[in-house]
């Protein structure tokens, strides 16, 4: 009876999982299938689920119409530089907040918490004035510098360093190492899982970011991938052939990152720092 019950549950729940997974998968599959249809097939009713004459013309058209290499390079510069700087700044800051005990550090911690409540989206107009005043308007530096500071990154490192025993620090101090040396030679290597997780997160944030480039950039030569896509989807008459294949192209770098770092991304323990 119990075995029969288990088998029934397995069939029911696996079917449920299958249906829900299909619902999540379908939009992306539909985009992919549509992107290899010739333009004439896209809008002809009745629709064909599978393309009748699959073609990569859409991709060739996208690649020649949009300057993807330029957008990719711009976005890569921003994403990589920001990620490196974010990891270093968040690691040192998280370390200080976890391992030193000063009142002003606690005040700073609360300040960092406040940034989560007043994100850039909320104060776009005054942020724009600040960007102008600093001469960062229409430059990639204007995308990189403000994005280095992230409360999430700092909390991830703080949470992690709080689990590192103080004895380890003390013994290194007794050996005469200064704090900078202790941090870079001892603490940063221990925190490698957080470094990788934050690096992936930061890369994804920057690659997919829309708000900052929207505020900061105006020269099409400096466009990031998302802003370039927005210029297609924002047109009065959307060129769907161009938009569908361009969307797929824009996903490629993130998919590569996912394939390479999958086990770090899906490791749920790494996100636990966010609960701090």
């Amino acid at each position: 009876m119990n075995k029969l019950n288990d088998r029934f549950s397995t069939i029911m729940l696996t079917t449920a999982l299958f249906i829900v997974a299909l619902m999540y998968l379908f939009p992306i599959v539909w985009l992919l299938l549509s992107s290899i249809k010739p333009g004439s097939e896209l809008f002809s009713y009745p629709l064909n689920i599978l393309p009748e004459n699959p073609t990569v013309d859409g991709y060739v058209y996208s690649w020649s119409t949009m300057e993807f290499i330029k957008y990719f390079i711009n976005t890569l510069i921003v994403a990589i530089l920001t990620t490196v700087l974010t990891v270093i700044a968040s690691a040192t800051c998280g370390f200080a907040l976890a391992k030193y005990n000063y009142k002003w550090l606690n005040v700073f911690l609360i300040c960092m918490l406040a940034t989560t409540m007043l994100p850039t989206e909320v104060i776009m107009t005054p942020t724009f004035s600040v960007i102008l005043d600093l001469g960062l308007y229409d430059s990639l530096a204007g995308l990189i510098i403000p994005s280095i500071n992230t409360a999430t990154g700092i909390f991830m490192f703080r949470q992690y360093f709080m689990t590192v025993p103080n004895d380890l620090l003390e013994s290194a101090r007794i050996d005469g190492a200064n704090e900078g040396k202790i941090f870079f030679n001892l603490m940063l290597p221990i925190a490698k899982p957080v470094v990788i997780t934050l690096a992936i997160f930061s890369f994804q944030w920057r690659w997919n970011d829309y708000i900052w480039p929207l505020i900061v950039l105006s020269d099409p030569n400096k466009y990031t991938v998302q802003i370039a896509l927005r210029s297609i989807v924002g047109a009065d008459n959307i060129d769907w052939v161009l938009l569908l294949s361009s969307s797929i192209i824009s996903l490629v770098p993130m998919i590569i990152i996912f394939i390479v770092f999958q086990r770090y991304i899906m490791d749920t323990s790494a996100t636990s720092g966010l609960k701090g």
């Binding site: 288990d6 549950s9 729940l13 696996t14 449920a16 999982l17 299958f18 829900v20 997974a21 999540y24 939009p27 539909w30 985009l31 809008f43 009713y45 009745p46 629709l47 800051c93 370390f95 200080a96 030193y100 550090l105 700073f108 960092m112 940034t115 409540m117 994100p119 850039t120 989206e121 909320v122 104060i123 776009m124 107009t125 005054p126 724009f128 004035s129 600040v130 600093l134 280095i148 500071n149 200064n178 704090e179 941090f183 994804q204 690659w207 997919n208 829309y210 708000i211 896509l229 769907w240 938009l243 569908l244 969307s247 996903l251 993130m254 996912f258 899906m266 749920t268 966010l274 609960k275």
Partner: protein
């Protein structure tokens, strides 16, 4: 000894401190000041509380704000339920094909908000979309997904749930696998059904995680902008124009910087209220445990 540590501690936070002052504190204070002025990008004239008074009499502001609240009110439970459902299925001992399914559910995390908008706009196109085609195939009439405000709103909600599941799923799975197995075994002995176990063991055990997911979702939905911009561009009319898009359009398109800043301050107060509320609840949860 202690003193050198102090220097190091300061050095370690210096970069973030400087960035905090320049890109957070300064714009925040500037925003408060702008909200009290009439400012079109050239000259700021002090006008006191006039912006706020006008704002609270502006029907388009009320509409954007109430649409944002409605979106949050409907979207947060949708994101919560779909993330939890997916996570429960993924940790259940009765399901097969978990690894592939997990990757499928996670995939939307890789997709940028702009492309999420494109995806759903393409699927729900009125005359060319897959969904309307299926509806017609089944004998129904095509639904005006983009020209009817309520249907457009519905599509925005679908897209939100689709995109928001991935990350919350990771958080939920982490919490679900740390629930002690003994609790379920005890329930088995007592003959508890699957539904009872979920209601009386699973849900209470992940209470603090639920609060976290809900708070994150509230914040994300309250400041939704990029996805909707590419999905509906706020339309039809202003039926899916949420508050951040309203602020953006007032500040950057109409160049009413002071007015937009006043709207920003109102949004900030709302977000602040939400987090204070959450802190209260979170503390209550700790007392219970």
């Amino acid at each position: 000894m202690k003193d050198t540590n102090k220097k190091w501690a300061f050095l370690f936070i210096a970069a973030n401190l400087v960035l905090f002052i320049i890109f957070f504190a300064w714009p925040a204070l500037l925003g408060v000041y702008y909200s009290l002025t009439e400012y079109n990008g050239n000259v700021a004239t002090f006008i006191g509380l006039e912006n706020y008074i006008n704002l609270f009499q502006d029907p388009s502001f009320y509409k954007a704000m109430s649409r944002t609240f409605l979106y949050t009110l409907l979207g947060v439970p949708l994101v919560y339920v779909s993330s939890l459902l997916v996570s429960v299925l993924l940790v259940s001992k009765f399901t097969k094909g978990k690894n592939v399914a997990k990757i499928i559910f996670f995939f939307p995390w890789l997709v940028s908000p702009i492309v999420v908008g494109v995806l759903w706009r393409w699927m729900f196109g009125e005359s060319f979309g897959f969904i309307n085609y299926m509806i017609q195939l089944l004998g129904g009439n095509p639904i005006p997904w983009s020209s009817d405000g309520n249907f457009a709103f519905l599509v925005v909600l679908f897209a939100t749930a689709w995109a928001g599941t991935a990350f919350n799923m990771l958080i939920f799975i982490g919490a679900l696998i740390s629930i002690p197995k003994s609790l379920y075994e005890a329930a088995d002995v007592d003959g508890g059904s699957g539904w009872q176990k979920f209601w009386h063991i699973t849900l209470p055990s992940i209470r603090s995680t639920s609060f976290l997911v809900i708070l994150l979702a509230v914040f994300n939905l309250m400041k939704e902008f990029p996805m909707v911009q590419s999905l509906t561009n706020g339309g039809p009319g202003s039926d899916t124009t949420f508050i951040v898009q309203y602020i953006y359009e007032t500040g950057f398109d109409q160049l009413k910087v002071g007015y937009a800043s006043a709207a920003s301050m109102v949004l900030f107060v709302v977000l602040l209220a939400f987090s204070l509320l959450q802190f209260r609840f979170a503390k209550g949860g700790k007392v219970d445990e």
